[in-house]
């Protein structure tokens, strides 16, 4: 990798401000909005590994799509914007503009949730790599691709094979190889390991981490499994009901969680020797079509106060903590 590209990658800046994205669906003739991403803001600079954690249906995947600018007629950005600056170039996704598409795959790439079915079943892997190279005007050099495959620990002969001839873990590695082939500075991975067994999952996560460290790229990693985060991420964001409820360095959140939801989540992580029974979070997840007013967590929150039901708390810096943490909870005002 040349020195200039290194310089560019160290100056990556991703800034999401008050991002709002809704799905428009029709139910019994009435147009309804699924408020999947509500008021999401964060800011990462340089080569960082950010994990976004949340339960199923909390809007994680939607956030990943929005961050990648992969919006269509169903999913639209209602407000806010996300800006990427790669040193020499700026791209943004907002209700009116989506210039990020120009940067796809060269500067920002995406590892989808359904990685196992993300490869064309009737096309040899070599042809898929060839399609990718041709589409981006990059010369296809088989030796380079083979070296690249070695980096993700895949044997070179898989280029002659079809996707269905590979195991789940291998297919996942192929997708990661595709995502990193053009050396993007930002990679968004949406639950890349959720369909894999635990051993394969650990290997893939190590691979992702090593890619992030070696290539000095920025990773946005979406997961429902908070126990994966400590070894991987520098920063983490906890999502609940479409909102980010807590944001901060992984270490800080794990050692001193602030938001009641984060506390619940962390209490579910099993540790060896721990004999206590795990308690489920009372109540049920948010209905994103008709979310509760105020803090979206308040119906399930044991510390709920009057204000929680009336006004949604913003994500504000928490002064009581020695780390730079931000939390969206009235308890900390």
């Amino acid at each position: 990798m040349s020195k200039t590209s290194l310089d560019l990658q160290t100056t990556v800046h991703v800034e999401a401000s008050n991002l709002k994205a809704y799905y428009l669906t029709e139910q019994q003739g009435v147009m309804k909005e699924v408020k999947a991403v509500e008021d999401v803001s964060f800011d990462i600079e340089g080569s960082k590994f950010l994990a976004i954690v949340g339960e199923s249906g909390c809007g994680k995947t939607t956030l990943a799509k929005v961050l990648y600018g992969f919006v269509n007629s169903n999913l639209s950005i209602i407000g806010g914007r996300i800006c990427y600056s790669f040193g020499d170039a700026q791209y943004e996704v907002s209700p009116t503009a989506n210039t990020l598409k120009d940067a796809w795959w060269k500067k920002i790439s995406y590892v989808p949730q359904g990685s196992l079915s993300a490869l064309n079943p009737v096309r040899k892997l070599k042809d898929i790599f060839l399609d990718l190279a041709n589409s981006h005007g990059v010369p296809f050099q088989e030796e380079k691709v083979k070296n690249h495959l070695k980096m993700v620990k895949l044997p070179p002969y898989i280029l002659r094979m079809y996707p269905f001839e590979l195991s789940g873990g291998m297919r996942q590695r192929v997708v990661i190889a595709l995502a990193t082939l053009l050396h993007p500075s930002v990679i968004i991975a949406d639950e890349p390991t959720s369909a894999l067994d635990v051993v394969t999952q650990r290997d893939i996560l190590r691979l992702l981490k090593s890619i992030q460290v070696d290539a000095k790229s920025t990773f946005i990693f979406i997961t429902h499994d908070i126990s994966l985060v400590p070894d991987l991420a520098d920063f983490m964001a906890i999502m609940y009901g479409g909102c980010i409820v807590e944001y901060g360095p992984t270490e800080a959140i794990f050692s001193r969680p602030l938001h009641p939801y984060t506390k619940f989540l962390l209490s579910t992580v099993p540790t060896i020797g721990d004999k206590t029974e795990k308690q489920p979070i009372p109540g049920s997840p948010v209905n994103l079509i008709d979310p509760p007013p105020g803090c979206r967590f308040h119906p399930r929150c044991p510390y709920g106060e009057k204000i929680c039901a009336e006004q949604r708390p913003g994500l504000v810096e928490n002064k009581a903590n020695s780390w730079e943490c931000r939390v969206a909870c009235w308890l900390y005002r």
């Binding site: 796809w104 989808p112 359904g114 079915s117 490869l119 009737v122």
Partner: protein, 344 residues
């Protein structure tokens, strides 16, 4: 590669056995059906035809005449004996004489009609398949373009129209009102079939309307079929991922969407090509085209067992081999289907 060849031969062997079994059963059934229809004895029919023509036949001479006819037609003896005799002759390539046009051999009658039918139907099947499949694939991808919607409306409008009404309309407009094309026949009466340019021109001119009617109907069906298949594929994860990878749209359309939808379409084409050998009665009647369809129709009306069996045999063999061809070709189109019978 040696392993592949071994698997291929084993696969081919199994398929061939099935293929011949299908032909055997088909031939047996077509042998039985006309013989089991009451009142359709061809000898009786021939005698009746003579009587209807006004000839006086003394009652005592009818019976010997019937027997002589049966012997002549090869229909004497029990059903089992006939059956074995039929197979013996069939393997020698002899389908026997036609009863209605006695003593012309069935093989001659069929080979006179076959080229017209196969030429017309195979050509129209392939043309309508190619156009319908290509347009359907593109339409699934560019669903909102104006031409797609127009074509879709057209296909949907043409589909419920009964084919004979559609064909008659074409005939009335182009052959009677506009007089651009002849109203029937396969070539100008008086021209001797040869490879001269006048003959070829005449054949094209006569075949144009039947071909047009078949292509329009067939194309609409293939178009809708392919569009449905391919629009299913456009929502597959790998197509979405290809978009996210920003792979060229033309590559996605060709190699991701259409290639995946192709096995089902190709199967349909091969099976349709198999049915080409039985002709299309309605087209041939409406356009007065000398094909297998009309031949089969008259054969059934005249209880011409040998001819019925000859034509049915053609179509059984063609369908059986078309199926075999599909089985052999699919692994090339869809790598997930393998000769070994199991995926990797």
């Amino acid at each position: 590669m040696g392993g592949f060849l071994k698997f291929f031969i084993r696969y081919l062997g199994a398929r061939l056995i099935v293929c011949f079994l299908v032909i055997f059963v088909g031939v047996t059934i077509t042998f039985l059906i006309p013989r089991l229809i009451p009142g359709s004895n061809p000898a009786e029919i021939a005698v009746r035809r003579l009587q209807m023509a006004g000839a006086y036949l003394p009652p005592e001479s009818v019976e010997p005449m019937r027997e002589a006819l049966l012997k002549l037609y090869g229909l004497e003896g029990s059903m089992i004996e006939q059956y074995f005799r039929y197979w013996r002759e069939l393997l020698k390539g002899n389908l026997g004489p036609s009863f209605a046009s006695f003593p012309t051999p069935v093989v001659v009658l069929i080979s006179r009609s076959l080229p017209w039918t196969v030429g017309l139907l195979a050509l129209t099947a392939v043309v309508s398949w190619v156009i319908g499949t290509l347009l359907g694939g593109v339409a699934s991808y560019r669903g909102k373009r104006l031409w797609v919607r127009v074509f879709e409306m057209f296909s949907n409008a043409v589909r419920p129209i009964p084919y004979y009404i559609f064909a008659l309309t074409l005939l009335i407009i182009f052959a009677y009102v506009l007089r651009w094309f002849p109203a029937g026949g396969a070539f100008q009466v008086g021209i001797v079939p040869s490879f001269s340019s006048t003959f070829v021109k005449s054949v094209i001119k006569h075949g144009f309307l039947p071909a047009l009617s078949l292509i329009i109907i067939g194309m609409g069906a293939w178009f809708l079929n392919m569009r449905n298949l391919a629009s299913g594929v456009t929502h597959e994860d790998f197509v979405i991922f290809a978009h996210q990878m920003k792979i060229k749209e033309s590559t996605i359309l060709k190699n991701y969407v259409m290639k995946t939808a192709m096995p089902a379409q190709l199967t349909g084409l091969a099976l349709q090509l198999g049915t080409v050998f039985s002709g299309t009665i309605i087209t041939e009647i409406v356009f007065n085209y000398p094909g297998l369809g009309t031949l089969a129709f008259t054969a059934i009306m005249q209880s011409d067992y040998n001819l019925i069996m000859g034509i049915t045999l053609c179509s059984i063999v063609a369908v059986a081999f078309a199926t075999l061809l599909v089985d052999l070709l699919l692994p090339f189109v869809d790598p997930r289907i393998q000769y070994t019978g199991g995926a990797g």
